[in-house]
Amino acid sequence: MSDSSDVEPRPSRPAFLPRSIGARRGGLVLAGALAAVGLLFVWQAAGLDLGGIGLPGAGFFPLLTGGALAAFAIAIGIQLLRERDDGRVIAFGHRDVLIVFAAMLGVPLLFEPLGAYGTLGLFGAVLLVLIARTSFVRAGIAAAVAMVMCWGFFQQLLGLQLPTGPW
């Protein structure tokens, strides 16, 4: 049995997040995605009434612009392929960015079932705890105060009707 002092410290592994992506490789993927969007519009527009060159139908303009988008995206891709890779990287997956984005995706899921003020109060409290690193109590109080202010301003002053949820 070896003494604990004999144990070699584990080599520190690079953090999983944020991840660095090569600017050239990422740029190519993004250009590919834009080309795919363009082609999707071309494909869908082809199923609509295209009309004629002189009298265009509902599908003419989207077909034209979708094709142009795909063409520009391909041009960007070719430009990237012809450039020399300068080793530049772009970091993705910053902790706070991921938390905010995930929380925002949660909002539309809960907005009607839980009500606007319940959802947004929870959303605010979660962000305060996770990104502003405040205590649960402070975050809860701040979120409650913010929701009362939102209710007063939006509902009472501006007359906006927001979903009330189960209450």
Partner: protein
Amino acid sequence: MTGFEQLVDGFAVALSWKGLLYCFIGCLWGTIVGVLPGLGPLAGMTLLLPLTFGLEPTIGIIMLTGIFYGAMYGGSTTSILVRIPGEAASVVTCIDGYEMARQGRAGPALMIAAIGSFIGGTFSILGLMFIAPPLAKVMVAIGPSVEVVLMLLALSVIAVVSAGSRTKTAAMLVLGLVLGTVGLDNLTGTARFTFGNPDLAGGLSFTALAIGLFGISEILINLEQTETIKAIQPKLRELIPRWKDLRESSGAVGRASVIGFIFGIIPGVSHVVSTFVSYAAEKRISKHPEQFGRGAIAGVAGPETANNAVTGTAMIPLLALGIPSIPATAILLSALTIHGVQPGPLLLKDHPEVFWGLVASMYIGNVMLLILNLPLVGIFVNLLRIPYAWLVPIILIVSIIGVYSVNSSVADIWIMALSGGAGYVLRKFGYEMAPLLLALVLGDRLEDNFRLALTMSGGSYATFADHASIIVVASVAGLLLSVQALAWAFGYRKSFADQAEGA
């Protein structure tokens, strides 16, 4: 009714309690977003856009325009005190403004920036007042074919002069046009790209897309930067400039007012171009060019005056032609359209109260900003101490409520969140969001007028090259080329805009 009488009526709207209150809110919020690094006028306007829906159109526009020019005032504060430009048009101010602050002269720099902004802003409003009405009268006579040509010209100029790669800008313009086709076709009522979803029948919500692409993506990018900001704190009594400062900057203010006014017509990055040209002009004219970069007051007065002088001119294409030349005016166009007011040649005839109310409020707003920005500069600097992580939930909650309130649709919150994520990724790879937004807002009208012009001409594409189109294109292109040549003559290069946008 004469123009003067209409202006008096405009002042009656702007001086009503509502007009004053919302002008003040716009100016205050504009100053705040201008001060806070990372939150520019666009994000500021898109975030408050939904709040205008419950207001009368004139009052809503007064508030949004207040944010636009308020941000130009606020942007100088961080440039001078922290050396961080609050927005792209304040990049040049950092050079001499921060040097002055380091030498203990932050007060005069802020004062001259505020006075210059006031004079530049007021000068450009005069231009808006005198140029927009006659231009609108001429444009009433044009047909859909000329409108198509004008819009294509505006989009082409944006692709050429915008910051960043031209191919990427062109791709974003086309993406904006593509996204604009989602929903029911205006001419035939055919559903396009809705995939059976009734929420998409009215098209992708402009508000949700604008807030997502500009506001949310900007917040996500700012969250990656965690450094704390240390600002130089000027004392109130230090604000008063010396007689020498006033004398040295008066010429710069006058020249920059004219430069900003002329450059305001360039679609895309006019506010950035005008500041670089003004700085270069002052350096070239100065008897002591070696002082530039070491705290020359003319290096602060010129750019700050120029970026405010752009605000009025940038409104001319929007209000007289209905074509936004910069993203901020695209937001205004969207707000007016939501209120059922169509900007363009008929605006002055159908809704004179909107035009003249706005002009009057811009005079009042500039006075408010002068008062706000001088004695309260200490308070605005203290805003930089609020941790960004505390501001994020507040901004997001207001955005979500605002986006939902437009159509009472949860689908719009989805669009906002997803376009925010998409905007974040696109911006990380150097794609500009401004061209996308401008194309999105023009896309519908471009397509409708394109098809209408062809229908009216019996399918002849020669309609886009008729006498009127050629005259309009030649005059606009000639004007833009002369302004661009002037910028080149003063040493402006597109790379400056790229650097400014990246700052």
